[in-house]
Amino acid sequence: MDDHSIIERYERAWIFFGLGMIVVFILLIGYTLVSSRGSIPLAVGQVNASEVRTQGEFANPRVEKVGRDYVVYMQAFAFGYLPADIRVKKGAKVTFYITSPDVLHGFNIERTNINVEVIPGEIAKVSQVFNQTGEYRILCNEYCGIGHASMISKITVEE
């Protein structure tokens, strides 16, 4: 049974290695969270989903310029996004307030960490600084019905 005590030694070492790895991961994730600068979706309130199209901020989806930054009030609906034409300047901070008048949708901006579950009735807030000019596609990545795959929009970042 000497073999066996060797196995038990390895076993203990492996478990400690595993626990150590997990602690390191958690610390690293904690660090990236603290430095995530607005890409984590926050809830900023609730609305009545049935009134999103007719009342309140979201009835008028728009891009507002605030100083050198932007605020966007956005609807993700079946099957598209409003406003459809978003133009912002490179290097400006863009804050999105977004909700849905109908079902769940996704709000994923390619080449960024913005990836939001848009829930009817909940207002989500995220922000992003776009440091490159060009087009960034917005992709719906939550199943929302027959037009889901075509629910693609874009943000244009200009010099």
Binding site: I15, L33, L104, I119, Y143
Partner: protein
């Protein structure tokens, strides 16, 4: 006994639990057959090839097919396999019979529930996918059938616990045998976690879909769903872990290294499987990041029992390989019985589980998840787990279990071996492609891209990965045909050759047993640990659920497919 001709006499008169187990198993595999047939079509979709035009009017849309794929594979097949194995193993190990009347009630509930769910799905009145997130609203029969189906598993929970307590009364002070211990902790975990789904469906979705209430809160529904939805992956996995611990070492020609450590693994799953569901809701507004972080830490803890399992199984397989004459660092791997289809399926499945587990750590990492949430990375990840290890473990087990239950020998062993290599290869290629498509190009999951010119234009850079999906679709089609040929040809043949099949469940011997182990004695206090699990769940979910229930924001149903 030998004089009885099996065709005239009920072959199962002496072992009715075998018949029940066979029926559970075959109903599950029938579901898997229909469910997997859509798999290659989905792989072709992600290759930009649309085959759905040929399926009309039988299948109306990609999403109807995907609902069938998810429901039948991930909910129906997995549960039925658990109900078959996690009742039969303890029954054999304890030498006791479950209450057969109730056991058949559970089978009929599963069948009736399945049929009631199937009707609206087939009528395209429930193309809500297997997660059925409101406000998308299915026909009420979808929810009613699903509830009956899931409640059938509660009967199995009762049957297993009742058998275990009967054994306890007759063997006071003794330590529960290993497979039974695993079954008991497994069913307790499932009972506790399935409460989320049962409440969601029974309290909210059925009244909502029948028009009794006008709306439901989508965020609360998602939260209740994922209360069950993460632990459900352990509900899928643990029957195969149980088989890997209690039968694989023996089938491979060796012994299990440590019995107490195996108990610890199942206890950790009971404790940590449930209070982790927010890691599926990292992207949801409405749950504070601090709560998500707490669930993330607990999620990382559930990696521990799988890390221990990796060690114990590898060491036990090494023991087997050396017992078969394998030498040196890697010689023992070569010495394993790769030509045994059951051992092969487990070895390949466990191999796929390594990258699958690593990917799971990525998904669980709050900030990394933002890069891959709801992209094709996710189906890429879980096909390594549920569609590879879990499904291959079930297929591999079927290769001895169906002969054992029926007294009919395995037909087409060569096809059985080939099916496992092809399955592994096909899944490896497909999951590889799906991971990269999701991570590099943010291609969304659950998207009928081959039917959308806008999507094909948007994702045209990922052509190489798409081609891999097409190849995997072809390989997996062949694997499916081989596997189902083997099991149906085995089960449906009329020849009985009881001397050619395994007469007993191949329970493994252990090197270091539970006797005198402090760890085994500690884990044996099942009800105490169940209480701890309940407390953990209440702490991790209570405040958030209370907040949601006091701020309900109901939304009416929609049908947009």
């Amino acid at each position: 006994m030998a004089v009885l001709t099996p065709s005239k006499i009920d072959a199962y008169a002496l072992a009715p639990e075998k018949k029940l187990t066979l029926y559970m198993l075959m109903l599950g595999f029938a579901a898997l057959l229909v469910g997997t047939l859509f798999g290659p079509l989905q792989a072709f979709n992600y290759a930009g090839i649309n085959l759905y035009t040929f399926l009309k009017p039988l299948v109306q849309s990609y999403y109807q097919g995907l609902t069938i794929h998810g429901v039948l594979n991930a909910i129906v097949f997995t549960q039925l396999f658990g109900q078959a194995v996690m009742l039969y193993l303890p029954s054999r190990e304890l030498g006791l019979r479950p209450n057969m009347t109730l056991a058949w009630v559970s089978w009929w509930m599963a069948l009736v529930g399945l049929l009631i769910t199937a009707l609206p799905i087939l009528a395209n009145a429930a193309s809500v996918l297997y997660t059925f997130y409101p406000p998308l609203q299915a026909h009420w029969a979808f929810y009613v059938g699903a509830a009956i189906f899931v409640l059938s598993s509660w009967v199995t929970v009762y049957l297993t616990l009742e058998m275990w307590m009967r054994w306890k009364r007759r063997n006071p002070g003794q330590i529960t045998p290993l497979a039974t211990y695993m079954a008991v902790t497994f069913w307790l975990m499932w009972w506790l976690c399935s409460l989320g789904l049962v409440v969601e469906v029974a309290v909210f979705l059925i009244p909502w879909s029948t028009g009794l209430i006008g709306g439901v809160d989508p965020l609360l529904m998602r939260t209740l769903f994922w209360f069950t939805g993460h632990p459900i992956v352990y509900f899928w996995l643990l029957p195969v872990y149980t088989l890997a611990y209690t039968t694989l070492p023996r089938l491979a020609g060796g012994k299990l290294i440590s019995d107490p450590l195996a108990r610890l693994v199942f206890l950790l799953f009971l404790l940590f499987s449930i209070p982790v569901g927010f890691h599926h809701q990292f992207s949801d507004p409405g749950i504070a990041p601090a709560w998500k972080f707490i669930h993330m830490v607990l999620t990382m803890m559930v990696a521990v029992p799988s890390l221990i399992t990796a060690f114990t199984l590898a060491a036990s397989l090494e023991n087997a390989g050396r017992a078969r004459g394998g030498q040196g660092w890697f010689g023992w791997i070569k010495a394993l019985p790769w030509n045994n289809p059951t051992v092969l399926s487990f070895l390949l499945g466990l191999l796929a589980f390594i990258p699958g587990g690593a990917g799971g750590m990525v998904n669980a990492s709050f900030t990394l998840n933002q890069g891959i949430h709801n992209t094709t990375w996710i189906p890429g990840h879980f096909h390594l787990q549920v569609a590879t290890l879990v499904t291959m473990g079930a297929m591999g087990t079927a290769f001895w279990l169906i002969p054992h239950l029926t007294g009919k020998r395995l037909v087409g062993e060569g096809y059985a071996v080939a099916s496992q290599w092809l399955w592994f290869l096909g899944m490896f290629i497909m999951t590889f492609a799906l991971h990269w498509m999701g991570w590099l190009y943010q291609i969304p999951r659950r998207a009928f891209i081959s039917g959308s010119p806008a999507a094909m234009e948007a994702y045209k850079q990922s052509g190489v990965w798409m081609a891999l999906n097409a190849i995997s679709g072809i390989i997996l089609t062949i694997a499916i045909i081989f596997f189902f040929y083997v099991i149906f040809a085995t089960a449906l043949q009329s020849r009985h050759e009881p001397s050619q099949v395994m007469a007993e469940v191949p329970f493994t011997q252990v090197i270091s047993g539970p006797q005198g182990s402090g760890l085994a004695a500690l884990t044996e206090r099942v009800w105490f640990w169940f209480g701890v699990a309940v407390v953990l769940v209440v702490l991790a979910y209570g405040p958030v659920l209370f907040q949601m229930l006091t701020h309900l924001n109901p939304v009416p149903g929609q049908r947009l497919w």
